[in-house]
């Protein structure tokens, strides 16, 4: 059978043209709207918020005994990671990745800080954190505080942490915690989050793109 034997009658061309014209105009408008709203940050491994989120007040202490609050996050970029020093596998692995990121971003003009926030303030004193974080990089910062102080920060960032009894070792306990790496911008706002598996290359490359697009 000849499939071309039924051409559209002329009367049906006009509506088709109108639909095509409307579709084209809508497409151009949508493309322009998207391009105007979206800075040139394409293909990120990170999840970047369309509008960076302001942080509610919180107050903690760093491994040198200095106050670590909203003001301490301003004026530079900060990578925040949540963990604890009695964690022998995931936390050292993450801190090693961050050390590698730090090396890759060393030529960067924008100051970047790397912060481990303890989700185990009971055992993680500033002294304990100092030994732990500076082992991986002398510039790394460890942050701890009261249970309530930690919760002020974790609750608003959606960071989960929970003590779990270690059945085979009754004297100790483990802490389950969110494994994301959070990026705070120089205005002190929550800018983006990286989810595991964390790759130093992807983090460094994404950071450069976000830095370029930051106003």
């Amino acid at each position: 059978m000849d499939t071309n034997s039924n051409p559209n009658p002329p009367v049906r061309i006009l509506p088709t043209l109108i639909i095509a014209a409307v579709a084209l105009a809508t497409g151009i408008w949508a493309a322009q709207a998207l391009l105007n709203n979206k800075p040139p940050v394409d293909e990120l491994a990170a999840t970047r918020f369309p509008v960076a989120r302001q942080l509610e007040p919180f107050s903690l202490v760093d491994h040198q005994g200095n106050t670590f609050d909203n003001a301490a996050l301003r004026g530079h970029w900060s990578f925040l990671f949540f963990g604890y020093t009695h964690c022998p596998d995931v936390c050292p692995t993450t801190l090693s990745v961050l050390n590698s990121v730090s090396g890759k971003l060393a030529d960067n003009n924008a100051p970047v800080r790397f912060v481990l926030v303890s989700v185990d303030p009971q055992r993680d004193t500033p002294e304990q954190l100092a030994r732990f974080v500076t082992y991986f990089n002398s510039d790394f910062i460890g942050v701890t505080g009261s249970e309530e102080g930690i919760a002020q920060l974790t609750r608003q960032l959606g960071i989960m942490h929970m003590q779990v009894a270690d059945e085979s070792s009754p004297d100790s306990y483990l802490v389950d915690h969110s494994a994301g790496l959070l990026l705070i911008d120089p205005k002190g706002n929550y800018h983006a989050v990286f989810t595991p598996p964390l790759s130093a290359d992807a983090i460094a490359s994404d950071f450069r793109k976000m830095l370029k697009a930051f106003r």
Partner: protein
């Protein structure tokens, strides 16, 4: 250490003193212990186990003279949350292998008898369910991302 814990450790060490027949049914490769920050009371150990037999092999326990206790743990990220859980035993599949590596299965090494740094070697005793004990010497390494040396 509690008396019961001491007794169990002593027993586990003793079982490895009785010489097992030469046995290559379970092969151990790339054992290493991650050097930890000074003062650390928990370290992690890694290795790959290969079973050359046609039946699964079970590791019931691990002990070490260098640590007060050794547990088998597994790290997992579930719905964005990092969890670490004790595992009661490790099963090496028939003619297969299992890797204990960062971010997955690992040996949780508790309370080192003395501080360990890169260059030290640690003896690990793997206690098989069939009674055979496998002795492994694991070097302490300062490792970074993707198992490359950092210096």
């Amino acid at each position: 250490m509690k008396p019961a814990g001491f007794f169990i450790t002593a027993f586990l060490l003793l079982c490895c003193v009785i010489p097992a027949q030469a046995d290559d049914t379970l092969q151990v490769s790339d054992p290493w212990i991650r050097e930890a920050p000074p003062g650390a009371t928990v370290l992690a150990g890694y290795l790959t186990l290969t079973n050359t037999t046609s039946a699964p092999l079970v590791i019931e326990a691990v002990s070490s003279p260098a640590f007060e206790a050794v547990e088998i743990h597994r790290s997992q990220v579930v719905d964005g949350v990092a969890r670490m859980q004790p595992v009661s035993e490790l099963t090496v599949p028939a003619t297969g292998n299992i890797s204990l590596a960062p971010g997955g299965y690992h040996l949780m090494l508790l309370r080192p008898v003395r501080p360990l740094t890169e260059g030290d070697n640690v003896i690990l005793l793997l206690h098989r369910a069939d009674g055979i004990c496998v002795t492994v010497t694991a070097p302490v390494l300062r490792m970074t991302e993707s198992s490359s040396h950092q210096h």
